[in-house]
């Protein structure tokens, strides 16, 4: 992996919400095809960090480069980055007034200016990949949580992004639905997608992550390959966290 190009580089990034210092000197690089899992206690700044990668949040100090584009206030750059970065949210955030198919074709049609027929073909391809092509004509409100999250993944994939961000994609799901979503994510990883996942699914981290990043109180406390991270964590806070969730 160390020879593939850099997709994301985060250098000395700080962020404040008013006077609350939420990200403190964050440094992280992600190469093409790498899978990074971010873990850490609630409120440690994991969501804020990955939301900085597609500028849903703005950082105040440091530098974030995504696919060679530095994120600044420049809207053109932000849009360029967002076209290449897909995001999956904890609460799915599907558009409830549109069918599953329309959810998936919307951005390709309006942002990529793709003809409708082509966008629908593409959408069906990805809906098949997340194993729910038969739900294409339904509305999100008619689907189970697991199905909705898989639609959300398909929706993001329809923009054919180079990077996928996941913010606790299984935390809002009933236990019996977690696996169907994780299976889709594992397949995506096996296909070589560059992924940054905030998750507490340690089985998933073991199976697909190249590196696990542990955050606490706005800092990256530890960063290691999963076998090392789980067997011989160095930091006391990591140990305490692992003891709690494993």
């Amino acid at each position: 992996m160390s020879d593939t190009p850099l997709m994301i580089s985060i250098e000395h990034v700080h962020k404040w919400f008013d006077d609350f210092h939420v990200l403190k000197d964050i440094n992280l690089t992600v190469r093409e095809g790498e899978r990074i899992v971010i873990a850490g206690p609630s409120g440690s700044g994991k969501s804020t960090l990955i939301r900085c990668i597609n500028r849903l949040e703005a950082h105040q100090e440091g530098r974030i480069m995504v696919d060679g584009v530095e994120l600044t206030d420049d809207l053109k750059r932000i849009d360029a980055v967002r076209r290449e970065v897909g995001m999956v949210f904890q609460q799915f955030n599907l558009f409830p007034h549109m069918t599953v198919l329309e959810n998936c074709t919307l951005a390709p049609i309006w942002v990529r200016k793709m003809p409708q027929a082509e966008a629908e073909k593409l959408a069906m391809k990805f809906l098949e990949r997340v194993k729910i092509p038969e739900q294409a004509k339904k509305f999100p409100g008619q689907l189970s949580g697991g199905q909705q999250q898989r639609v959300a993944i398909a929706r993001a994939l329809c923009m054919q992004p180079k990077i996928m961000l996941f913010d606790e994609p299984t935390s809002a799901l009933d236990p019996e639905m977690i696996k169907e979503v994780l299976d889709v994510m594992v397949e995506l990883a096996q296909d070589g997608m560059t992924m940054v996942c905030v998750t507490h699914e340690m089985g998933f981290a073991r199976q697909v992550a190249n590196r696990v990043v542990f955050m606490d109180e706005g800092e990256i406390v530890e960063e290691a390959a999963p076998e090392i991270f789980f067997s011989t964590p160095k930091n006391e806070r990591t140990k305490a966290f692992l003891a709690q969730i494993l």
Partner: protein, 352 residues
């Protein structure tokens, strides 16, 4: 048997319920028969003012019949009435397919209704063009004026109200401040004052020789006034949309206007259909206020015809007002029913 059971269960289930049922029956008994007598059985249906002076037991419908032309068209010249009728027909022809969810080509239909039709209507009604005789707006009156004021208010207030609501929630301080100032100014002033200002005060500020039409000034006043109300209704809808919807739209690279137009507004407006229709209904009834600046809407026209000595009859005023009320009620009730229909339809659309 079934119906007795139903009565027992719904109307006489206990003492209190039975008492209420009996009270309701009593209210119906004392109010409905006299009303029917007045409006139908003891009313004057044929004749003229003299007939109505002799028979005073009920409504004087000949008054309405004889003045129906004025009630609908005001003093619009008789030979040009076809223009009003054509305008009306063209409007209905555009409106009906727009209101039917299954009718095709909504986009073109909308463009016709909000762009082409107003232009056609202005040319047809005012006729300031070669080949058509100009009809000064001081001759317009009756239902024509009521509809012109109401439709203008409705057509302008929805888009303008949406823009104001978006402006009020904008990240840009200048736009936000301007929107707030505009909305709070118009909401803080009674419509009567707005109309007076438009009709009496505004000409004083305009340079010598510049004058524009009294009706037009009132139309602008009414449109801006109702836009401020509409903005607050729409803002309520915007507030109901979770932040995740904005974020999901932005995350796939949609621009501000795409996010608003495709994701946020379609949902927000659905939430506030009752509020929007309520504002429309309020606006429709408020059009009667133009009377105070010398414009004769339906109600004003009814009052004007009452001062005709031929129709100085005991039941004339009541009959005229009941007629006006009935016409207003038909329009407002129609809007209300349509909004219920749309809400139901949208709810079954995406059951969630």
């Amino acid at each position: 048997m079934q119906s007795v059971k139903w009565l027992r269960k719904n109307l006489f289930s206990d003492v209190w319920n039975s008492a209420l049922t009996l009270f309701a029956l009593w209210v119906i008994y004392i109010s409905v028969p006299p009303l029917l007598d007045w409006a139908i059985f003891k009313a004057v249906w044929e004749g003229n003012g003299n007939t109505c002076r002799e028979i005073t037991s009920g409504a004087c419908w000949p008054f309405v019949k004889a003045n129906l032309g004025q009630f609908i068209y005001g003093r619009y010249p008789e030979s040009e009435l076809w223009r009003v009728n054509l305008t009306f027909v063209l409007g209905v022809a555009g409106l009906i397919p727009m209101l039917m969810p299954s009718a095709p080509a909504k986009k073109w239909n909308l463009i016709y209704l909000v762009v082409a039709y107003p232009l056609i209507a202005i040319v047809l009604l005012a006729g300031d063009r070669p080949g058509l005789v100009g009809v000064d707006t001081s001759l317009w009156g009756g239902l024509l004026v009521t509809l012109v004021v109401a439709v203008t208010g409705i057509v302008v207030s929805l888009p303008l109200g949406i823009l104001l609501a978006l402006g009020r929630r904008s990240d840009m301080p200048a736009i936000r401040m301007l929107s707030i100032a505009f909305i709070e100014f118009w909401r803080g002033v009674p419509l009567v004052t707005v109309l007076f200002m438009a009709s009496v005060m505004l000409p004083l500020f305009l340079p010598e020789g510049v004058s524009f039409d009294n009706l037009l000034r009132c139309l602008i006043g009414v449109a801006l006034f109702s836009s401020a109300y509409m903005a607050e209704v729409v803002r309520g809808g915007l507030q109901a949309i979770p932040r995740g919807q904005y974020e999901a739209a932005r995350a796939v690279g949609m621009s501000y206007w795409q996010t608003m137009g495709l994701i946020i507004l379609p949902q927000a407006l659905r939430h506030v259909i009752p509020g929007i229709v309520n504002t429309f209904i309020g606006l429709f009834k408020d059009t009667t206020l133009v009377l105070i600046v010398g414009i004769f809407d339906l109600l004003g026209q009814v009052r004007a015809q009452l001062s005709d000595p031929n129709w100085a009859v005991p039941e004339g005023a009541t009959t005229g007002y009941v007629f006006a009320a009935l016409v207003f009620w038909v329009f407002c009730f129609g809007m209300s029913r349509y909004s219920v229909f749309m809400e139901r339809r949208l709810n079954t659309d995406h059951r969630n």
